[in-house]
C-alpha cells in the first residue's frame, strides 16, 4: 500500500461533507457534545471566575475584603525579582525534563518495537514508574538523594562527580537536577507508550518495501518511521511541555522551591503565594501570565506542525 492512500487530504474531506445532508453536518457535533458540555461546566466556568481573581485584591482568610484593582497585580509582577528567577527556572525545568523524557522514551519505544526474549515481562516492569503516585515518587527520590538514607550521593562520589557525599537538593547549583531526574524517571513511560502505540500502527509493508529497495536503516528511520510518528510527537511534546511547566508536585515535595529559590518554578511560586502568603489575587495573576506564555508556545508549535503536515 502506498503512502498516498493512507493520508487523507483535508480538501477531499471537505468536498464529501458539503454534499452531505443536515444529519451528516450535525453528526460530529453530536459525538463532541458530551466532552464540550463537561469541559465548559467543570473547567471553563471556574477558569473565568479564577481569572477574575487576578484583577481583585483577595486574601483567602478575609473573604469579605475583596475589591477590584485592575492591573495592579500585573504591574507588581513586572518588578518582582522572584517572578523572573522562577521564570528562568521554569524554562530549564521544562526544557530539560521534556528533552530527556522524549529522547529516552523514543529510544525505549524503538527497542520495544523489536522483539526480544522476555519482552512481555520487561514491558510490564519498565512502565511501572508511571503508575507511582507523584507524591510518592517525590518522596522516594528525596530519599535517594539524601546521603544519610539514600545511596545516590555515595555513587556520585565513586564516579567522581562529587567530592563528598552531600545532598545535591540543598546545593543551589545542582538542586534543579534532582526534580528533573525524578521527572524523567516518571515520564519516560508516557512517551514510550504513546510512541510505541503509533509505531505499531505503521504497516509492515512499508518496511518490507523499503528493505526490498535496499534502504539503509537510517533511511528507513528518517523516511518512514519519523514522518509517521511526527503528528504524535508534536501532540505529545506539546502537551507534556505544558503539563511539566505547570507541574508543581515533584518540586514542592522534594525541595519546596528551595536551595535559595534555585528550584522555584512559576507553578511552585504560585502555590507558595496562595497557601503560605495567602495572597490569592496575586497567585491568580501569576497563573494568568503562565497561561499566556504557554498559549504562545502552543500556538507556535501548532503553526510549525501545520507547515510540516502540508509538506508531507
Amino acid at each position: 500500500m502506498s503512502v498516498d492512500k493512507l493520508t487523507i487530504s483535508a480538501s477531499d474531506l471537505g468536498r464529501r461533507r458539503t454534499t452531505g445532508k443536515i444529519k451528516q453536518i450535525a453528526e460530529p457535533y453530536l459525538y463532541l457534545s458530551p466532552s464540550i458540555i463537561l469541559i465548559c461546566l467543570v473547567i471553563f466556568t471556574p477558569l473565568v471566575i479564577g481569572i477574575s481573581y487576578a484583577f481583585q485584591s483577595m486574601h483567602l482568610f478575609n473573604p469579605g475584603d475583596v475589591e477590584w484593582i485592575g492591573f495592579e497585580h500585573f504591574e507588581k509582577i513586572y518588578s518582582d525579582r522572584k517572578f523572573f528567577i522562577a521564570l528562568k527556572n521554569t524554562f530549564w525545568w521544562t526544557f530539560g525534563s521534556v528533552l530527556l523524557q522524549f529522547s529516552l522514551g523514543l529510544g525505549l519505544a524503538l527497542l520495544l518495537k523489536q522483539g526480544f526474549h522476555g519482552r512481555k515481562v520487561f514491558q510490564a516492569l519498565i512502565f511501572l514508574p508511571w503508575a507511582v503516585p507523584t507524591f510518592l515518587s517525590a518522596l522516594i527520590w528525596a530519599w535517594l538523594f539524601n546521603p544519610v538514607i539514600g545511596p545516590l550521593p555515595h555513587w556520585f562520589v565513586s564516579l567522581g562527580m562529587l567530592d563528598e557525599p552531600y545532598n545535591i537538593l540543598a546545593d543551589p547549583d545542582f538542586a534543579l537536577f534532582g526534580p528533573i531526574i525524578a521527572n524523567v524517571w516518571f515520564g519516560i513511560s508516557f512517551f514510550a507508550i504513546t510512541l510505541l502505540a503509533s509505531l505499531q500502527s505503521i504497516p509492515d509493508e512499508m518496511y518490507e518495501a523499503a528493505a526490498i529497495d535496499g534502504a539503509s536503516k537510517w533511511q528507513i528511520f528518517s523516511k518512514i518511521t519519523l514522518p509517521f510518528l511526527a503528528p504524535m510527537i508534536v501532540i505529545t511534546v506539546m502537551l507534556r511541555t505544558v503539563w511539566i511547566a505547570n507541574f508543581a508536585d515533584l518540586i514542592y515535595v522534594m525541595t519546596g522551591g528551595g536551595a535559595a529559590n534555585s528550584t522555584q518554578i512559576l507553578s511552585t511560586y504560585i502555590f507558595t503565594t496562595a497557601f503560605k502568603k495567602l495572597d490569592f489575587g496575586y497567585a491568580s495573576a501569576v497563573s494568568v501570565v503562565l497561561l499566556v506564555l504557554l498559549l504562545l508556545f502552543a500556538t507556535l508549535l501548532l503553526k510549525m506542525r501545520q507547515k510540516f503536515v502540508r509538506v508531507n
Binding site: 464540550i36 523489536q114 510490564a124 507511582v132 500502527s201 518490507e208 504524535m232
Partner: protein, 280 residues
C-alpha cells in the same frame, strides 16, 4: 518484528545492555521503596545506605492493613479511578473520532478550547471549583472527584484517541459503509477492533492519572470515609509523626492496582493489530 533486522552480535549486545539500563533506572527507586518498607524502624537511619537492611520485617505491611483505614482509601481510589477511566475513554473516543473523521465548522475553536484546558496552573481554578462543588452539595463525595477528573482527562484522552483513529485508514470503514453498514456498525465491527491498543493506552493513562491525583482530592474531600489513597498517604505525614516504614509499605500497596492494570492492558499494547488489518 521488522524484516530488516539481521543478526549482528555487537548490535544485539548493545540492545540488551540498553534494555538493562532502562530496567535498572526504572526499578531501582521502587526497590528502595520496598527496602525501606521492610526495614524495622530502629534501623531506618543506621542501615540507611545499605542495599539490604541487616534485619527485615513485614510488620509495617501488617500494621498498615490492620491499624489504618488503608483499605477504605484503597476501595475509594479504585472506584474513582475505574469510574474516571471508563467514562473518560468513552467520551474521548467519541470526540476523537469526530476530530479524526470529520471536517466541520468550529473544529479549530473546539481543539483550541481543549488545549487551553491543559495550560493553566490548577491553582487558579481550585477556589472556584470548591465553591461550585460545595454549592451543589457534593463535597466529600466520590462523584465530585469522578466528574472533575473526567473533565480534566477528556482533552488529552481525546487527542490520544484522535491520533489512533488517524492511524487507521479511512478506506476501511468506508468500504464497510459501501457494503451497507451504517457508520455505527462500521465503527463497531471494523474500526473498534483496530483501536483496541489505543483504547487500552487511554484507559491506562487516565486510570493512573486519577489514581495519583492529590490536589483536588485534598481540596474536595476531608471525610475519612471518602478519602482517596494519595490523601491517605499524606495522613502518614501529618497524623502520626511520619512513620516512614508504614508509609512506604502503604506505598508498595499503592502500586499494586496500577501494576495489575498495566499488565492487563499491555496485551493490547503489544499486539500490532493495525498492521495486520491493513494487509487485506
Amino acid at each position: 518484528m521488522s524484516v530488516i533486522s539481521k543478526p549482528n552480535l555487537a548490535l544485539t549486545i548493545g540492545k540488551y545492555l540498553a534494555l538493562a539500563c532502562y530496567l535498572a533506572f526504572a526499578l531501582f527507586p521502587l526497590y528502595w521503596l520496598f527496602k525501606i518498607s521492610v526495614t524495622p524502624e530502629k534501623l531506618i537511619y543506621t542501615d540507611g545506605i545499605a542495599l539490604w537492611p541487616s534485619e527485615y520485617t513485614f510488620d509495617n505491611f501488617k500494621s498498615v492493613i490492620l491499624l489504618t483505614d488503608f483499605l477504605v482509601y484503597f476501595k475509594n481510589s479504585i472506584i474513582v479511578s475505574f469510574g474516571t477511566a471508563a467514562i473518560t475513554t468513552i467520551i474521548a473516543a467519541a470526540a476523537g473520532y469526530a476530530f479524526s473523521r470529520f471536517n466541520f465548522r468550529g473544529k479549530k475553536v473546539i481543539i483550541g478550547i481543549m488545549l487551553i484546558t491543559q495550560m493553566f496552573p490548577l491553582l487558579i481554578i481550585i477556589a472556584p471549583i470548591y465553591k461550585i462543588i460545595a454549592g451543589l452539595g457534593l463535597l466529600n463525595t466520590l462523584t465530585s472527584l469522578i466528574v472533575v477528573y473526567t473533565a480534566f482527562n477528556v482533552p488529552f484522552a481525546t487527542f490520544l484517541m484522535q491520533s489512533f483513529f488517524d492511524g487507521i485508514p479511512k478506506d476501511l470503514e468506508e468500504a464497510a459503509m459501501i457494503d451497507g453498514c451504517s457508520r455505527f456498525q462500521a465503527v463497531r465491527k471494523v474500526v473498534f477492533p483496530l483501536t483496541l491498543p489505543g483504547l487500552a493506552a487511554t484507559l491506562g493513562f487516565v486510570f493512573t492519572a486519577a489514581w495519583s491525583e492529590l490536589l483536588f482530592a485534598i481540596m474536595l474531600i476531608n471525610s475519612n470515609d471518602t478519602m482517596t489513597f494519595p490523601v491517605g498517604l499524606l495522613t502518614f505525614v501529618s497524623k502520626f509523626s511520619v512513620d516512614w516504614g508504614q508509609m512506604m509499605a502503604a506505598g508498595v500497596f499503592a502500586l499494586i492496582p496500577s501494576c495489575l492494570f498495566f499488565i492487563f492492558i499491555q496485551r493490547y499494547l503489544v499486539q500490532g493489530l493495525t498492521s495486520g488489518a491493513v494487509k487485506g
